[in-house]
């Protein structure tokens, strides 16, 4: 019997020929992503307590994104400590205030198909869009990774989701992700979600990253998309030559899947997840009477250049509704630069949107754009748990950048297809 892509990667990382679901492996880590949130501020004191350093500075990528920019002495101190850690241990892949870590990994071409990678943040699954196995862990466990270069994994079952057909205009990967939260629920522990089919093959890596990012909301071990020419082109665009064997990292024809499901993209309509769960999703018209105060474009999942292009397409020649506000926090400096160069930022600003600094921002109630009691927000982010973006009674709806922009113009939750030619 053959192996799935994830099984092959885990077997390789554990130095054995085969890995079967349920087996517990000790895997060697190819890359560890640390962020300012659960990174040095939590790990460095433990390294001091252990009297040790990091196992391999060149396999660590460190980014500041959760507490950027500093808004008070506490956040400034966290960023300062993060910088000191990078200097102390000689972390060359240190990206200070350049954007959100998960997006930077892609922009910098740091993920190769077949890699086994760990990140100190639940949305580390996003990296799986490059055909690697990348999963999120807590800072205590990342301490173990940083010290030993190893971590234990129970080999997950693989669930294969095949999407065929073409999206209608205004329907995107985020709509698939929200649809799947309802369809599969948020309790998919012990499973890897492998996304495939012609719809996924036709997506850019940036859209594939939306799917793997929100494997976290499915509660899965992680999400993954097998590498193809699109992946290799993205690596080359980032200035990295793909490894010679990159395309060999794929599941065997006779691999065993826990479940294989087929979906048609043609039938999908824009989705919205109502408070307070990503699984509380449905077609956009199920929420279309809801008036919104804030519309938010941000976070790892929802403020890449492709996302800003969707926003600008809706906003071109239109204005944000009176009584509503649109906040846009581009996910990286590179996104900001490209969006400035191609006119996207001008279109968005001309509509009356408020451009925020790059970073995780209001998604986790850490930066600008936090919500007051009872405020209603539609957001391109990935979680709408109670209190996630601020006050416990705030109502957060999740949607695609298209739908968020359309809602900002309408002042209520709106179907973006009404705004697209």
């Amino acid at each position: 019997m053959g192996q799935t892509l994830s099984e092959k990667i885990l077997a390789h990382a554990a130095g054995q020929p085969v890995a079967r679901p349920g087996e517990i492996l000790t895997c060697r880590v190819d890359l560890a992503l640390l962020l300012d949130s659960g990174g040095p501020r939590r790990i460095w004191p433990r390294l001091k307590e252990l009297g040790t350093g990091v196992w391999d500075a060149d396999r660590i990528v460190l980014c500041t994104d959760h507490f950027t920019p500093a808004v008070d002495a506490e956040s400034a101190a966290i960023l300062q400590l993060t910088r000191e850690f990078a200097a102390e241990f000689g972390i060359r892949n240190f990206f200070d205030m350049r954007g959100i870590g998960h997006v930077l990994l892609a922009e910098q071409g740091l993920l190769q198909p077949g890699m086994f990678a760990c990140g100190g943040d639940s949305h580390s699954s996003m990296g799986g869009a490059f055909g690697c196995f990348m999963a999120g862990f807590g800072a205590i466990e990342m301490t173990g990774v940083v010290v030993t270069g190893e971590i234990w994994i129970q080999v997950p079952e693989t669930v294969q989701l095949n999407w065929s057909g073409r999206f209608g205009h205004g329907v995107v990967a985020k709509d698939i992700a929200l649809f799947l939260c309802r369809e599969l629920g948020m309790e998919n522990g012990g499973r890897v979600i492998e996304y495939g089919g012609e719809t996924v093959r036709a997506m850019s890596v940036w859209e594939r990253m939306v799917l793997t990012n929100m494997a976290a909301e499915l509660g899965a071990e992680t999400g993954i998309v097998a590498a193809d020419e699109v992946t290799l082109a993205a690596l080359r665009a980032a200035g990295r030559e793909p490894a010679a064997e990159a395309l060999q990292w794929r599941g065997d024809a006779d691999a065993a899947y826990l479940d294989v499901r087929n979906y048609a993209a043609d039938d999908l309509v824009p989705q919205v997840a109502a408070p307070h769960s990503p699984a509380n999703s449905g077609p956009v018209d199920s929420c279309d009477k809801v008036r919104i105060g804030q519309a938010y474009i941000g976070a790892c999942v929802g403020a890449k250049l492709t996302d800003l292009h969707m926003v600008a397409e809706v906003l071109k020649g239109r204005k944000v509704a009176n009584g509503s506000r649109l906040l846009v926090a581009p996910s990286s400096s590179a996104v900001m630069a490209q969006a400035a160069a191609d006119g996207t930022l001008a279109t968005i600003s001309a509509a009356g949107a408020y451009i925020l600094p790059t970073g995780c921002g209001a998604c986790a109630a850490l930066g600008a754009g936090v919500l007051a009691e009872n405020e209603v927000c539609i957001s391109s982010t990935n979680r709408n748990f109670k209190g996630r973006m601020g006050a416990n009674s705030a109502q957060v709806y999740l949607a695609s950048p298209y739908t968020v922009a359309a809602s900002a113009v309408a002042g209520r939750i709106a179907d973006p297809r009404e705004f697209l030619a």
């Binding site: 040790t52 639940s122 999120g136 301490t143 948020m186 509660g219 986790a364 748990f385 209190g387």
Partner: protein, 166 residues
Amino acid sequence: MKIISGRAFVFGDDINTDVMAPGLYFKAPMAEMARHCLEAVNPDFARQVQPGDLIVAGRNFGVGSAREQAALALTHLGVGAVLAVSFGRIFYRNALNFGLPALVFPGAGLIRAGDTLQLDPVTGRIERPATGESWTVQGLPVHLMAMIEAGGLMPWLKLRLAKEKT
């Protein structure tokens, strides 16, 4: 590991990490964050919970973020163990790494708030003395017992590093 004995605090399904460790208190010391632990779903929890008390919850307890403060807020408040129908994967690993027993208990729905429970986390035996009932669930994972017996990941790393030096 010794027997854990305490009152049950009962929660439903999908209790997420953000309500255990709200982002608004991320920069505050743990003592302050812990005061707000679970307040969005039970405003009295942090005030009422006593050392050794147990959390009994439904499906997917700890779904969401990687923030280890979710598990740390519980240990800070003295929670003795978490019994749930199922767990969010990162929360589960964090809890065990901090020495907080987390056991899958399919019968969690049978427990009422305030019940006194006794738990042997190694054998997985759960008792409710008031009714004389008991349940046996899967104990702590065998492959992690060395780490758990050492007291968690940090003490285990200390042992490992000491061994490497000799």
